[in-house]
């Protein structure tokens, strides 16, 4: 990253009573980035988002936006807008007035407000629905209103709290694409909070994986998948097989996609034998769960510190059935050293 970061979060901590929500979190976000905060519930990602928005104060640490101290700025003066998980649309105002709310507070001229509201509604695909009551809208439409309302002020930073969480699965994947398109179109820096790793992987330029209030790893989706830094990341993003070789006390992660079934070992390749326990078919891919033969003559399973079962991914359906004796092979280059 050559750009100076737009947002710098440094050593931010926050506790609620005995519970530590955030513990020394440091993250840089650059201009125009689509950034995701990913983690299981209770990892502190929403608290961090609320600190950025100004709805919560950190106990320690600094946050700067384009060099300005953000913590000192009151919530209504920050050039940041938040799209709430519940959408938080004002039920007594119609769509137009919901979207216009922020601009009216800026005391913009009426003509400008009308123009920008219409433009925002157009951008999110809600032309002609301006006069509707928000209570008459579908979930997907409400989400678009919330998005338009947060974007119309042209914030430096747009925060989205589980933006797709309230939507049906079908609309969700469509909205993922649309959010990405919108972010490109309006050129606003996005920070999305999500617990859904697929959602984060498919939309974000970079992802910070949070766990128990600290950052486990910050990386691109590809790097998180191919080079997870910790066991938590390796297991949280996709599926993986964790090996504990006897030689050094380190852990190795090998993705199911990097392994092959029923093949001869290539030179220098790894080979284990085992019995197929179960096959899950997902359409594009199948996952075979193999009981590893730990008593094989070569002792490979023990040397490699193999887990009791290994998951291997195959493209499409597979003719392999439970009970089948098989080999598992992979190349050592597919092994990624991870922290415990």
């Amino acid at each position: 990253m050559t750009d100076a970061p737009l947002l710098q979060i440094a050593g931010v901590s926050r506790s609620f009573g005995d519970v530590t929500a955030l513990d020394g979190v440091s993250i840089d976000v650059v201009e125009n980035e689509f950034f995701a905060l990913l983690g299981p519930s209770g990892c502190g990602k929403t608290t961090l988002l609320r600190i950025l928005a100004g709805l919560e104060d950190p106990d320690a640490g600094t946050v700067t936006l384009a060099g300005d101290d953000l913590i000192a700025m009151p919530v209504h003066r920050r050039p940041i807008n938040l799209m709430f998980q519940s959408f938080a649309l004002f039920p007594h105002l119609n769509v137009e007035k919901n979207v216009a709310y922020g601009l009216q507070r800026e005391k913009r001229p009426k003509d400008e407000i009308r123009e920008r509201v219409a433009e925002a509604l157009q951008t999110v695909g809600l032309n002609g629905l301006g006069r509707r009551r928000v209570t008459e809208l579908s979930g997907g439409q409400r989400q678009r209103v919330a998005l338009a309302r947060a974007m119309v002020k042209r914030p430096r930073l747009l925060l989205l709290d589980e933006p797709l969480g309230a939507l049906d699965k079908q609309i969700r994947s469509q909205m993922q694409i649309e959010l990405k398109r919108l972010q490109n179109e309006v050129g606003i820096t996005f920070i999305v909070v999500t617990h859904d790793q697929e959602e984060a992987m498919s939309m974000a330029d970079r992802i910070a994986v949070l766990r128990d209030g600290h950052v486990e790893q910050i990386a691109s989706p590809e790097d998180l998948f191919d080079r997870p830094a910790t066991r938590f990341v390796a297991e949280f993003i996709g599926r993986t097989n964790i090996f504990e070789p006897r030689a050094n006390g380190r852990l190795l992660s090998v993705r199911p996609e990097r392994m092959l079934l029923d093949k001869e070992a290539s030179s220098g390749g790894r080979l284990l034998t085992g019995t197929v326990r179960d096959v899950q078919f997902f359409g594009g891919v199948s996952h075979a769960t193999i009981d590893v033969d730990h008593d094989a003559d070569d002792g490979a399973a023990t040397d490699l510190g193999s887990p009791a079962t290994i998951v291997v991914a195959t493209i499409g359906s597979t003719r392999i059935r439970p009970g089948h004796q098989t080999t598992i092979t992979w190349h050592p280059e597919s092994e990624v050293e991870i922290e415990r």
Partner: protein, 261 residues
């Protein structure tokens, strides 16, 4: 669970409702009795309602009661709403949170005597002002209870969203909080009005001698026997209260509908 009831159940229900509403039915019935006697039906007539207008005591009492009821409604609604919001946002002490309701649940007579003692102690001249203040205190507790219930159902992220969109704390209260509370506030105001309208005990203790409220006028009249025009007056009051209570319930239901959406 609602299930079918047998014949006995229905009789039981009818008797209970008769017990509840027979006095009111008798009162309303007699107010239309031409003869003016409780024991003989002289035919249907609205003449007692006509006579109400010419009774100077009643008109004076009505004027006093309306002054007190309207003043009480305005004051109790404003103060009670602010108290509800304040308790909801800033009070973490369960005792303080609970005691606001005391004036509503303690016996009227205790409140009335206490108020009288207090007014005497500070040398406050008894009159409509002292009744108005007493009723405000009494009704405020009800307003606070009603508005608090409503507040607990209002999504606090709405206020946060308004702040996030650049509104000031006062702006958020006026533009977001109050509209959200409106159904509760209207219901509470109507409730205050009806409570004050027919309140007797507190008014009896805290009023001066020259400004009787309507319930006081009625009381001093019926001491020498119930006159038929009092029946008519009571029926009018009944109508006003019923309309106010039904309207308040409508608003409460409207509130529920919004929540479900």
């Amino acid at each position: 669970m609602r299930g079918p009831v047998g014949a006995w159940g229905r009789v039981h229900l009818a008797l209970t409702y008769a017990f509840l509403y027979l006095p009111i039915l008798v009162l309303v019935g007699l107010s239309f009795n031409r003869s003016g006697l409780a024991t003989t039906w002289g035919g249907f007539s609205t003449k007692w309602y006509g006579e109400l207008r010419h009774n100077a005591d009643i008109r004076e009492g009505l004027r006093n009661t309306l002054i007190v009821a309207v003043g009480t409604t305005v004051l109790a609604t404003i103060l009670g709403t602010l108290l509800a919001v304040g308790i909801q946002r800033h009070v973490r002490n369960p005792v303080i949170e609970a005691v606001f309701v005391a004036p509503a649940v303690m016996p009227d007579i205790v409140l009335a005597v206490g108020l009288l003692l207090l007014y005497t102690l500070v040398d406050f001249t008894l009159g409509l002002t002292s009744v108005l203040l007493s009723h405000t205190l009494f009704c405020m507790a009800f307003v606070t209870a009603v508005v608090r219930t409503r507040l607990q159902h209002v999504d606090s992220s709405l206020e946060e969203a308004a702040r996030d969109l650049g509104d000031t704390a006062v702006g958020v209260f006026v533009r977001i909080t109050l509209p959200g509370l409106a159904p509760g506030i209207v219901a509470a105001a109507l409730l205050s009005f009806t409570l004050s309208l027919d309140e007797f005990v507190i008014a009896f203790f805290t009023n001066g001698p020259t400004t009787p409220t309507l319930p006081q006028v009625i009381y001093s009249n019926v001491r020498f026997g119930v006159k038929p025009d009092i029946n008519a007056l009571a029926s009018v009051l009944l109508l006003v209260s019923t309309v106010a209570v039904l309207t308040a319930q409508r608003f409460a239901r409207f509130t529920d509908t919004i929540e479900r959406q």
